[in-house]
């Protein structure tokens, strides 16, 4: 129920712009790892490359020490070990239950097992009462919580969170952060969190990396990252002295 993630020399270009310029990262199995940085630094692109939504021009991404297979079936099996939630989740037409159990149905789960697992995933974010509600009628906070339960219902070994609580009120932020901690503790899954919210990185992560202009500036255990960073850019960033 966990996964090691290693990136080496990952480069990604969009048009004329080098978004990632040789990223190197090692995320240990079961770790909650945060990537912080200003907007446009390339944080989301890293997650998109890890989840096969974008293809790097160079470098390697290793999952449990192995690069992704070119065999479509093996690739699908690997993809299904990864869950991802972004800032503005898109919910499909239909009920909350349909959305939450989408990934399970894709994996062939059905019958009572489907119902029990769907209910459990909704319970984890406190939304069991909305199981039959239409997804289009949810508030932003509820939609994000549904998206979270939809991502964890299939028990991914690697959970990617892209600014997953941006624009939410404190109550929803607390609920979602508690759900991430609970999922990580219960399953031992690896969590990679991308955020520009330093407080959130501090609250959730064991290690933090600063990404600026497509390059990793510094990676350190959370306390060290915030209390005694090595790089002057990290010092400036954690003190909020970066104007961007």
């Amino acid at each position: 129920m966990t996964m090691a993630l290693d990136l080496a020399g990952v480069r990604k270009r969009y048009g004329d712009r080098d978004v990632l310029q040789g990223i190197g990262l090692n995320v240990e199995p079961g770790e909650v790892f945060a990537i912080v940085g200003p907007s446009g630094a390339g944080k989301t692109t890293i997650l998109r490359c890890v989840d096969f939504l974008a293809r790097p021009e160079a470098g390697s991404i290793r999952y449990d020490g192995r690069t992704a297979s070119r065999d479509l079936r093996e690739l699908l099996a690997l993809r299904r070990r990864i869950g991802m939630i972004d800032q503005n989740p898109l919910l499909f037409r239909g009920s909350v239950f349909y959305n939450v159990t989408y990934g399970l149905c894709a994996r062939g789960v059905e019958g009572p097992d489907l119902r029990v697992r769907g209910f459990r995933a909704l319970e984890a974010v406190g939304l069991l009462g909305l199981v039959d509600a239409r997804a289009s009628g949810l508030s932003a906070g509820e939609a994000q919580r549904v998206a979270f339960s939809r991502a964890i219902v299939s028990r991914p070994d690697l959970l990617l969170l892209d600014e997953f609580t941006a624009n939410l009120d404190p109550a929803n932020v607390n609920a979602l952060e508690a759900a991430v901690r609970g999922y990580n503790r219960e399953t031992g899954a690896t969590v990679v969190l991308v955020t520009h919210n330093l407080f959130q990185a501090k609250r959730l992560a064991r290690r933090v990396a600063l990404l600026m202009d497509g390059e990793i500036v510094e990676t350190a255990p959370t306390e060290k990252f915030f209390e005694s960073p090595r790089d002057p850019r990290t010092k400036a960033f954690v003190r909020g002295e970066f104007a961007y």
Partner: protein, 214 residues
């Protein structure tokens, strides 16, 4: 008079309904497949489809006539001047329309729908099904447009069906011959029936479309 109107109406519904159904079964899966692909050859295919959009029904009828006529490749099947032959002609006309609209609707589906399904572990087929489900309102529009073309079409069914009394007469071809013979009351009655059918089908599909919206 009433008896022949019922018979003509039923044949019109049979021919247009069946051809729309067959075209839908062909065009929706193919249109979905093509709408999800992003490669250079697609532009050429789109141009061909848009040309077929505007295929004059008379020309389609002539082509089908040549194929189904005694000397044609499908001549031995004996489909010429039969309702089945008329259905074939309408399928030739309606399929590109439904296919083209479906392809455009699927291609225009929000990229994030495809990405969300992908991220949630959908395989290629599940991804297509999800996109189709999310584009259901647009695909229903494609079917509506296709049926509208089929029920109002006159040139191809005239050529291929031959407008044989009691055998291949449909509403549109009968209205034409009624006007030629100055049988205006009969033509107007058939016109009203045609209008009611078109209205009823559109209303039904519109309700269906409403139900598919969030």
């Amino acid at each position: 008079m009433a008896g022949d109107i019922v018979q003509i109406t039923l044949l019109s519904l049979l021919v247009s309904g069946t051809s729309t159904l067959v075209s839908t079964l062909i065009a929706v899966p193919v249109g979905t497949y093509l709408g999800l692909r992003e490669h250079g050859g697609l532009r050429l295919l789109r141009n061909i489809l848009f040309t077929l959009y505007g295929l004059p029904p008379v020309l389609a009828g002539l082509l089908v006539l040549l194929v189904l006529s005694r000397g044609g490749p499908l001549g031995p099947l004996g489909l010429l001047y039969t309702p089945l032959g008329m259905i074939v002609a309408q399928v030739v006309i309606v399929t590109p329309i439904i296919l083209g609209v479906t392809m455009s609707v699927v291609a225009a589906t929000e990229r994030r729908i495809k990405e969300t399904a992908f991220v949630l572990g959908a395989d290629r087929q599940q991804l297509s099904t999800t996109v189709l489900r999310e584009s259901a309102a647009g695909v229903l529009t494609a079917v509506m447009v296709g049926f509208g073309r089929a029920i109002s079409e006159v040139g191809a069914v005239f050529i291929v069906g031959g407008h044989l009394e009691g055998h291949t007469q449909v509403l549109t071809t009968t209205i034409i011959t009624d006007v030629e013979q100055a049988n205006y009351p009969h033509a107007v009655a058939l016109g009203v029936v045609l209008l009611v059918i078109a209205g009823a089908v559109y209303f039904l599909l519109y309700r269906l479309q409403e139900r598919t919206l969030p």
